[in-house]
């Protein structure tokens, strides 16, 4: 088992490297020359001074060196260049043996420095950490909702195959795949918030001066966004569980269980259900990606102070460091999600480990 986990961890490394390369390319594709952005409106900036700054920032270096500097915060240059490269923000040293100067400017992606937000001048990481709990709260709630509703629906619809219930479940599973959540959300707001007045129209909690934590208030606020986000998951999980349960019902061990004279409930819900659950593990990764993607829309509509809304607002303000930082963060989150679902899969189904 340990070996499997280690192998799975190692497999994530190339993907992480790929993500970092992609982000680096996008950072450099973003409009705006970094020199101009730092010195805009400064009358003392001569062409010569700009050239020095360009060299200090390492922008004259090959892309691979720049990538290394962006990742680690260490800038490297051939020869003894300590005097030229030293700035107020870094420390430089000359390594004679390999004839290079190395400067440590702090930061770098590997040290968790995703850059600075153009909009608020805060570190990107701080902005992400600030918004993350809200997104996790919404995402986990809606995942649990879709599991606890979607899985039973799928199993029951397989057990009562061909019945009215089965057809209804399948009908709604198809419909909810096609209804855009940004359309469903305003309709639900209209019905439950505006007309009936039962639930708040948006936000994570009622705005007050004290902002003290109130569980009832929080729950009232999360119901609509979590439900909207869960519809897709309910449709997906019920479809998968229906297929898997039908498949399991035709296996030999189910026939054996029936032949032993076990009650139908025992056969279906103890034998079949547990085995049909296993393939569900494999779709947890994609499900997490789906929820994170849907969060962009739901958070925007419900004014939910999470990462999706942060990303959309940053995209509007062309705050690229935040947009990219959020994208990278989601990529890492997804990789971890896939990894956990694979490992969990290997735990419940020993056959996987020996592939």
């Amino acid at each position: 088992m340990t070996r499997y986990i280690i192998r799975r961890l190692l497999q994530a490394i190339p993907t992480l490297i790929g993500i970092s390369i992609l982000s680096f390319i996008l950072v450099n594709a973003a409009p705006g020359d970094p020199i101009t952005m730092r010195t805009f409106g400064d009358p003392r900036m001569t062409e010569e001074a700009r050239e020095i700054l360009r060299r200090q920032l390492g922008l004259d270096q090959p892309a691979i060196v720049q990538y290394f500097a962006w990742m680690t915060g260490l800038s490297v240059r051939q020869g003894d260049q300590v005097a030229m490269m030293t700035t107020p923000g870094n420390t430089c040293g000359y390594i004679g043996a390999i004839n290079v100067t190395v400067c440590d400017g702090g930061g770098g992606i590997l040290r968790g420095d995703l850059g600075t937000s153009i909009d608020t001048k805060q570190p990107v990481w701080a902005r992400i950490v600030e918004r993350m709990p809200a997104t996790l709260e919404l995402g986990i709630t809606s995942l649990l909702l879709s599991l606890f509703i979607g899985v039973p629906l799928g199993v029951l619809s397989a057990v009562y195959r061909g019945s009215l219930f089965d057809n209804l479940v399948r009908f709604f599973a198809v419909i909810f795949r096609a209804i855009p959540i940004f359309w469903m959300a305003p309709i639900l707001i209209l019905v439950f918030s505006v007309v009936l007045g039962w639930l708040p129209t948006g936000g994570r909690q009622t705005v007050s001066l004290t902002q003290e934590f109130n569980l009832g208030d929080r729950i009232r606020h999360i119901i609509l966004p979590a439900a909207v986000l869960a519809f897709g998951g309910i449709a997906g999980f019920s479809r998968i569980m229906r297929t898997e349960t039908l498949e399991v019902l035709h296996t030999d061990y189910i026939r054996t269980a029936q032949a032993k004279g076990l009650s139908p409930n025992n056969v279906w819900f103890v034998h079949a259900f547990r085995n049909a659950l296993i393939p569900l593990m494999t779709v947890m990764g994609p499900a997490i990606v789906g929820v994170l993607g849907g969060a962009v829309v739901v958070e925007t509509i419900f004014a939910w102070p999470g990462m999706g809304r942060l990303t959309v607002n940053a995209a509007f303000q062309q705050d690229y460091p935040v947009v990219l930082g959020a994208g990278m963060f989601f990529a890492v989150l997804t990789i971890i999600g896939y990894m956990l679902s694979d490992i969990f899969y290997a735990v419940v189904d020993p056959r996987v480990r020996f592939d």
């Binding site: 190339p14 993907t15 790929g18 993500i19 992609l22 996008l26 594709a29 973003a30 409009p31 198809v174 419909i175 795949r177 096609a178 209804i179 855009p180 940004f182 359309w183 959300a185 305003p186 309709i187 707001i189 209209l190 505006v194 129209t201 990606v289 789906g290 994170l292 993607g293 962009v296 829309v297 925007t300 509509i301 990303t311 959309v312 940053a314 995209a315 509007f316 062309q318 690229y320 947009v323 990219l324 959020a326 994208g327 990278m328 989601f330 990529a331 997804t334 990789i335 896939y338």
Partner: protein, 343 residues
């Protein structure tokens, strides 16, 4: 037509005892069409898509005949309710006041589906929006199909290093939720309908490529491929004559479902304000503001006045996307000879 041969069953031409010899062959296409003809739901979906496509193509003629334009604003006539119901009531003699009043306000032009916050005709915008939404989705789906089949076949065909690099590339890009990837790209390069189509196409082929690669691996080990190789067919010929045609049915299915998914993705981006920019209408960006109008009420009558702006674009998106999904499912059943034998 091949369909008739299937339905006609056995054709008696020669002697009775030779009937089995003269039975006309069932072609693959004929069988697929026959199966499609029995599938009413898919036919309805195809019909709906055809109607929407025709309406989109004829958008200019239709709006011209009514006398409305998609971008003509009229500040004096914001949030006019759909003219359709008052018109019927007028014609039936139930309400002789409302419809003429509306006509007077709009300057004699009937706004069958009402007007938006700038007094623009919603029907015209829906029709022109259909043009933009459908053409973006269709072109992007075609692009991602070509890329997916090409790259996937290459990965499966060459294997080894090339396969590793391609799979690494796909794995990397699919870890970022697609919508975030599109938001990132669209915030860096402000999209036009053309560039948006390209982004959607270039970021949408990963699933097709994965499927194609798997299929190439599978088909390469089958007996008929071995047979083709034994008679001296080149790898290239095997690819072109056996592997790709063999995968074609499923690729058609994937592409049909893709069109639906792309309509959704495009409308999400436009809804967020990061897709096609106003005033060019798409179904997504028509919903962009409608979301705020849910709360809007008439100051006198307290009626909701923005709901028609919310309902119609959403109905169009849902029905169109649903149709493409149903067409995909229907084609899967029709084109899969293995499934047919089970029935």
């Amino acid at each position: 037509m091949a369909v008739d041969q299937v339905q006609g069953g056995v054709a008696f031409k020669g002697a009775q005892d030779q009937a089995y010899l003269t039975r006309k062959p069932q072609t693959y296409l004929g069988m697929a069409l026959a199966s499609l003809r029995r599938d009413k739901l898919t036919l309805v979906a195809i019909g709906f898509v055809v109607v929407v496509a025709l309406l989109a193509l004829g958008a200019g003629a239709i709006t011209g005949a009514i006398g409305v334009e998609p971008n003509a604003t009229n500040p004096a006539n914001q949030f006019q309710q759909p003219y359709l119901i008052p018109y019927i009531q007028w014609m039936l003699g139930m309400d002789p006041v409302t419809a003429p009043t509306m006509l007077y306000k709009s300057g004699g032009v009937p706004h069958w589906l009402g007007t938006d916050q700038l007094g623009r005709d919603q029907l015209a915008r829906l029709l022109y929006g259909a043009r933009v939404s459908l053409s973006i989705a269709l072109v992007a789906a075609a692009l991602s199909m070509v890329l997916g089949v090409g790259v996937g076949a290459m990965a499966g065909y060459f294997g080894g290093r090339i396969d590793d690099v391609i799979m690494w590339f796909i794995a990397t890009l699919t870890t970022i939720p697609e919508i975030y990837l599109l938001i990132i790209v669209n915030s860096i390069f402000r999209p036009t309908p053309l560039t948006l189509t390209l982004f959607l196409g270039f970021l949408g082929w990963f699933g097709t490529a994965r499927f194609m690669r798997g299929n190439v691996f599978k088909v390469r080990t089958l007996e008929y491929t071995n047979a083709a190789r034994a008679v001296g067919a080149s790898d290239f010929r095997i690819m072109l004559r056996h592997v790709i045609p063999n995968s074609l049915p499923i690729i058609v299915v994937i592409t049909a479902v893709d069109v639906g998914a792309l309509i959704l993705t495009e409308s999400i981006l436009s809804f967020l304000g990061l897709g096609v920019q106003p005033p060019t209408p798409t179904w997504g960006n028509m919903l962009y503001r409608a979301n705020d109008f849910v709360f809007l009420r008439d100051p006198v009558t307290k009626d909701f006045i923005g709901l028609h702006l919310l309902i119609w674009p959403g109905v169009m998106i849902t029905l169109t996307v649903l149709s493409f999904y149903l067409i995909g499912d229907g084609l899967r059943d029709a084109l899969d000879p293995m499934l047919k034998n089970k029935k």
